[in-house]
C-alpha cells in the first residue's frame, strides 16, 4: 500500500478582502500573520481532477513560518510543508 507523505491538512484561516490570510489557527491557537513572505500559484491537471491552489508562505507573530494554500476549486484552506 502506498500512502502519500505530506498530504494537505485543513486549517482555519481568516482572510482580508483581497484573499490574503490575516489570522490562522495553528497548533490550537489563534495567531496573527505578521508578514507574508512569499506567494505562488499552482494550476495543474486541468484535464482530469483540476488542481488549483494559491500558496502563501506566512510568518506568524511568534516567528513561526508556515505554508498554507487556498484550494481555489473548493475554496478551503489547507496547511502543508513545502
Amino acid at each position: 500500500m502506498v500512502t502519500p507523505l505530506n498530504a494537505p491538512r485543513g486549517i482555519r484561516v481568516v482572510a482580508d478582502g483581497h484573499g490574503s490570510p490575516t489570522f490562522v489557527w495553528f497548533k490550537r491557537r489563534q495567531r496573527r500573520v505578521a508578514r507574508i513572505r512569499n506567494i505562488w500559484r499552482i494550476d495543474d491537471e486541468w484535464w482530469r481532477q483540476e488542481i488549483s491552489r494559491h500558496y502563501f508562505e506566512l510568518e506568524l507573530s511568534d516567528g513561526t513560518v508556515i505554508t498554507v494554500f487556498q484550494d481555489l476549486t473548493s475554496r478551503t484552506w489547507c496547511w502543508q510543508r513545502c
Binding site: 502519500p4 507523505l5 499552482i42
Partner: protein, 400 residues
C-alpha cells in the same frame, strides 16, 4: 601465590592403553617398530621393570625384553588428549600453562572462594580429568612452580599439598637430580659429594656462582625453595571449528551451502560472544570414498557477520562442483583477532548491519502481530510541483 602442578604420568602409555585395553598387562614400548632406528619415547611400568628406559634405542629395548610390544608414536593423539586436560584445567583457573607433554601449572591464588580449600580443588580436578579423559593424574600444590612440580612428581594417588614456609624442609632430603640444571652441573655437584638439595642450599652462593655460573645460582635458589617464575597462561586456540556429517552423501551444491550456513550459525555467535573477528575461513570436505579436500578463504576484511561470510563462501564455491558424494564438511574460523573500528563507506557504510537488524525486527514483528508496521519512504516524483506527490510510504518488505 599458590601454584598447582598437574602431571599425567606416562601420558602416551595411558593414551595407548585407553585405545588398546587388551595391552594392559604387556610390556609396552612407544617409539616405533623394533627394526626402526628410533628411540623409546615412553614405556609402561612393566617395561621399565624389565630394564627399559626412555631414550634407549628400540633395538636395545627389544634385546633387553623380547616380549615387549612396540607401538608407533601418535604425537597428534597425545597432544589432543593433553589439550583436553588443559581445557578442563581452564575451568578452574584462567592461568594455565602447559609445560611440555603431560605437565601443567595453574595459578590457583584466590580460587578457594570458588572451590574451597586446596585439597578439595585438587580432588575436583583429579576426578574431572579421570572422568572426562580417562587419564590418571598426580597433583602437587605449593607456593611456587618448582616446589609444586616436585610435589606433583612425588604425589601418588593423593595430591601433595605444601603450605608456604614448608618448601625448604620439603626439599631438604631430595636428590639433586631433581634440579632442572645441566647434567654437567649435576655431575660436578656429585663429584663434590653433594647428594641432596639441602646440602646445595647450605653452600655459599658465591662459590656456586663462580664454579657453575647461572646453573649454580639457579640450583642454589631452587634448592632453597625459591622460584619466582610466574604461570604464563597459554594462548587461546586461534580456531573455532565445527563439523557436520551426512547420513546420505551430499551431491548437491545448494545442500552443501545450506550445511555451511548451519555451521556458520553455530560458530559466529561464539565468535561474537568473544568480541572477535575472523580473518580466515577453512573448509575441509571428506568424501564417501575416504578422500578429503581442504580449502582456505582469506578474508580481505575481518568479519563477524554470518551473512557476509556465507555470501563470500557462496561466491568462492560457485564454480566448484562436488566430484563425489560428500560425507562430512568441517568449517573452521581461523586467525581470530580483536574487533576493531573500521572506516565506514561514505555511501553504504554500516548499512548492511543496520539492514540485518531491521530484517530481524520485521521478522519479529510479523511473528508477533501478524504483519509488520515497518514502512519505507520512496520517492514518487521528487520534482513534482505538488508537494504530496513527491514522497510516499510503502510497506518495507525487508525480508523479500
Amino acid at each position: 601465590m599458590t601454584i598447582l602442578c598437574l602431571i599425567i604420568p606416562h601420558l602416551p602409555v595411558q593414551w595407548e592403553l585407553k585405545r588398546h585395553p587388551e595391552l594392559a598387562q604387556a610390556a609396552l614400548v612407544i617409539g616405533g617398530f623394533p627394526h626402526e632406528r628410533k628411540t623409546v619415547f615412553d614405556c609402561s611400568e612393566k617395561a621399565t621393570a624389565s630394564g627399559i628406559c626412555l631414550g634407549m634405542t628400540l633395538r636395545q629395548a627389544s634385546h633387553r625384553c623380547p616380549d615387549t610390544i612396540s607401538l608407533p608414536v601418535d604425537e597428534v593423539g597425545y597432544n589432543r588428549a593433553f589439550d583436553e586436560v588443559l581445557d578442563i584445567l581452564n575451568q578452574f583457573s584462567p592461568f594455565v600453562e602447559a609445560d611440555g607433554l603431560g605437565r601443567a601449572f595453574l595459578d590457583i591464588s584466590g580460587t578457594e572462594h570458588l572451590f574451597g580449600p586446596a585439597e578439595n580443588l585438587a580432588g575436583q580436578i583429579s576426578n574431572e580429568v579421570i572422568h572426562k579423559t580417562g587419564l590418571q593424574s598426580q597433583i602437587g600444590i605449593a607456593s611456587n612452580k618448582f616446589v609444586a612440580s616436585i610435589a606433583a612428581s612425588l604425589a601418588s594417588t593423593r595430591s601433595l599439598i605444601l603450605t608456604s614456609g614448608q618448601e625448604r624442609s620439603f626439599l631438604q632430603s631430595l636428590p639433586i637430580e631433581l634440579l632442572p640444571i645441566a647434567p654437567e652441573a649435576t655431575t660436578w655437584l656429585k663429584r663434590l659429594g653433594l647428594r641432596t638439595m639441602g646440602q646445595v642450599a647450605d653452600l655459599p652462593i658465591n662459590a656456586l656462582d663462580s664454579q657453575l655460573g647461572q646453573d649454580g645460582l639457579m640450583a642454589h635458589r631452587l634448592a632453597k625453595g625459591i622460584d619466582k617464575r610466574m604461570v604464563k597462561p597459554r594462548p587461546r586456540p586461534d580456531v573455532l571449528e565445527q563439523s557436520l556429517s551426512f547420513d546420505h552423501p551430499l551431491v548437491d551444491m545448494d545442500a552443501l551451502l545450506a550445511a555451511i550456513g548451519s555451521l556458520l550459525g553455530k560458530l559466529v555467535p561464539t565468535l561474537r560472544s568473544r568480541y572477535q573477528v575472523c580473518h580466515e575461513i577453512r573448509l575441509r570436505f571428506c568424501f564417501d570414498n575416504g578422500r578429503a579436500w581442504q580449502d582456505t578463504v582469506a578474508l580481505k576484511t575481518p568479519l563477524d557477520s554470518e551473512q557476509e561470510m556465507l555470501s563470500i563462501l557462496k561466491r568462492h564455491l560457485e564454480t566448484t562442483s562436488l566430484p563425489e558424494g560428500l560425507a562430512e564438511v568441517q568449517l573452521a574460523l581461523a586467525r581470530l583477532g580483536r574487533e576493531f573500528g573500521r572506516q565506514s563507506s561514505l555511501s553504504t557504510g554500516t548499512r548492511s548491519r543496520q539492514h540485518e537488524a531491521l530484517q530481524r525486527l520485521e521478522r519479529d514483528m510479523e511473528h508477533k502481530f501478524g504483519q509488520s508496521p515497518l514502512k519505507r519512504v520512496v520517492e514518487l516524483d521528487p520534482d513534482s510541483r505538488i508537494p504530496e506527490r513527491r514522497l510516499a510510504l510503502m510497506d518495507a518488505h525487508l525480508n523479500g
